[in-house]
Symmetry: C2
């Protein structure tokens, strides 16, 4: 239905006119600092706990927009508002980041979750680009080093697994390091970044890759082999697809077209595998042997899965010209905008049931904040711009033709 | 549609002819001992991990049937088969029970979960009644004492909550102690049982009871007050209703008709509150302020919620003659048998989506085993027998009239 210019306009305006104002208006905690992220459909607050994942992601998002889109001081101030709360209250004595705090900053949940640290690193790394404040760089750098230190035991003393019986490693950490390595490249020495990137790509594309099925697993044995257990059979198509655009970014940086082609192929493969041919949308979780999942939410349609897919498809098209990416983009775009976008209030819905009906009317909660939707809108907007420039209008025609 | 005699017949035959044969046929691990509980619709095995909750519950179930229904040596042998695996592999060095083991008995998940110990206590307490084997009594007795020792810190070192910030206690332990106190009464001294029963009843009926709403909360402050947080607002109607028949059992033992009436009233209150007026069935989780749940499975219909409700309604009717219990029994009976029973293969489905469609076709998994369905069929059968005897046919007519 849309030309590339129309898509571009849609993504850009949705970001700037609907989604950002939602968070700027509703999520600032003027009283205690930081952000309130548990927001109802209309932006009213339904819970005041503060989750470090979401505080860090929101600081990152507004810093990134300030750095990449426009030096809008409202955005930088908003990022600093969150960062200052994080600095003051977010860390345990050993410097690792709590999982959650009360509204006034008292620790609620121990630093059991390494991704709190990942998002804090992203936040302060990106913020430092805007402020040049050495303190911000230090926080990012020190947190990043502590992530590397604990990467073989990310859950620390809170891990319930008996060591040695069935060792497994999880896809999420190497996957996020693919993204983090570029995010904080400016703080690390070049040799370290090169080694890190090489290692992440190997983990994501080889170690977690299952030859037999051609799919990427969520949990594997330390040597990368398949483990026939609930965890070993577990697939998360959206997670893989998100990783594939991180890999495409790395491929572009390295000038490695083979890597890019493979990431694009794996995007399409997992999208085809995860697509619900009955009701549309992408399943949240699957089992590689088709066995019952241990996750009751397996058939739900989650916002982040769909918006990350849009990014991967546009990047895949831009970097490989594979028209299958465009065909899928239009299909996933239609599903996503029809089901997740809320015509009345800025931010999008997050949780739909299998049929695409709203399951939880929240706009933000314990796991959903100011991150995937605005990041995807930004990434799609910028990628569509590059497509238009590269093809000198050709892609615009193509997108029109394909619809 | 049914008279009491017809219901009685239905519940009894379903237990003896369909459900028990399913587990006897499919769940015995003849090679490594214990039970295989991850079973597909037809009973075929889809995973071989062994979860201590489910091993203990199955030992308990077959021991209980041997003790209460018929001294069938196949049942006792089957219970001993599981008990011997548990004895050999189930405990850590400190005597607490692992959460899960590999098929051959190597520990997978640490003893972080106190309910593994609760079900082990029930298992060996009930088994001892059948075997008079002192070893079985010792295991039950020692495990029970360790539960009491750790009841203020049930998750031990694996608790992620920072101590002191927002102390909460959970309903599940006092609730299960209501049941456990009667289950292992034969192993404890009378004064201890009396004190324990008094304490459990107080916890369940007073401490977790929220005056304002008239509902029982899942998590409260140590003094029983409401905490406005995700955990504090969380409601689990099925859990409360299950607790209410434990309370009715205690009320009957104590001859406390006031307590019984209150438990019956709370059963009806939570059933009305939790009933899905759009699609039928009882919601899994709710929020006392109607706010979005943090649990994505909140609107699903789970087997145990429904079969526990059937027990509570029949006991409520038997002990109070409140006809509202009968009206609801027929409604919940119809929903439950129409949606959870599998016409082809013995054991029932466990997980339905909000509309009552099968969400996971498994008959047993990580959390569903040989427990709620057969226990409920047994409890309903025996309660219907008592109703028939007490009313000398009156209830039979009544059930007929109400339908």
């Amino acid at each position: 239905m849309n030309s590339a210019d129309q898509y571009l306009d849609l993504y850009k305006k949705e970001l700037l006119n609907n989604v950002l104002p939602f968070w700027l208006t509703h999520s600032k905690d003027a009283e205690y600092g930081g952000y309130l992220t548990c927001l109802n459909r209309d932006g009213s607050v339904f819970d005041t706990d503060k989750f470090m994942w979401l505080q860090g992601r929101q600081v990152w998002l507004f810093s990134m927009l300030y750095n990449q889109v426009e030096q809008n001081t409202e955005w930088l101030d908003f990022a600093l508002h969150g960062a200052s709360f994080m600095e003051k209250h977010g860390r345990a004595e050993d410097g690792s980041w709590y999982f959650s705090l009360t509204r006034d900053g008292r620790p609620l949940v121990h630093p059991y979750n390494i991704f709190s640290d990942c998002f804090a690193t992203m936040a302060f790394g990106q913020l430092y680009k805007a402020t040049s404040e050495p303190r911000h760089a230090d926080i990012a750098y020190n947190t990043f080093n502590s992530i590397l230190d604990r990467q073989t035991n990310p859950k620390r003393q809170w891990s319930k697994a008996v060591a040695g019986t069935r060792p497994l490693k999880n896809f999420a950490l190497p996957m996020i390091l693919c993204n983090l390595s570029l995010e904080i490249e400016h703080l690390l020495d070049a040799a370290m970044v090169d080694a890190l990137i090489k290692d992440c790509i190997h983990e994501v594309m080889d170690v977690f890759y299952d030859e037999k099925s051609g799919l990427i697993l969520e949990n594997v044995a330390p040597d990368g082999s398949f483990v026939d257990s609930f965890e070993g059979r577990h697939l998360n198509p959206g997670h893989v697809i998100e990783a594939m655009w991180f890999i495409m970014d790395l491929g572009e940086r390295l000038g490695d077209q083979t890597l890019i082609e493979r990431a694009k192929d794996l995007t399409l493969k997992h999208l085809e595998y995860g697509w619900d041919s009955t009701y549309g949308g992408i399943f949240y979780f699957m089992d590689i042997k088709g066995r019952p999942s241990q996750h009751l939410e397996w058939d739900q349609k989650l916002w982040w899965v769909h918006v990350e897919t849009l990014i991967a498809l546009l990047k895949g098209y831009r970097l490989t010209n594979d028209e299958a990416c465009l065909r899928w983009f239009e299909k996933v775009h239609d599903y996503t905008w029809q089901h997740f976008k809320d015509a009345e209030y800025g931010e999008w819905y997050g949780y739909l049931n299998r049929r695409g009906e709203v399951l939880l009317p929240l706009k933000g909660g314990k796991w959903k904040g100011c991150y995937h939707v605005p990041r995807a809108l930004y990434q799609c907007w910028k990628t569509l711009e590059k497509i238009a420039v590269k093809n000198d209008g050709g892609a615009a025609r193509r997108l029109n033709v394909m619809s």
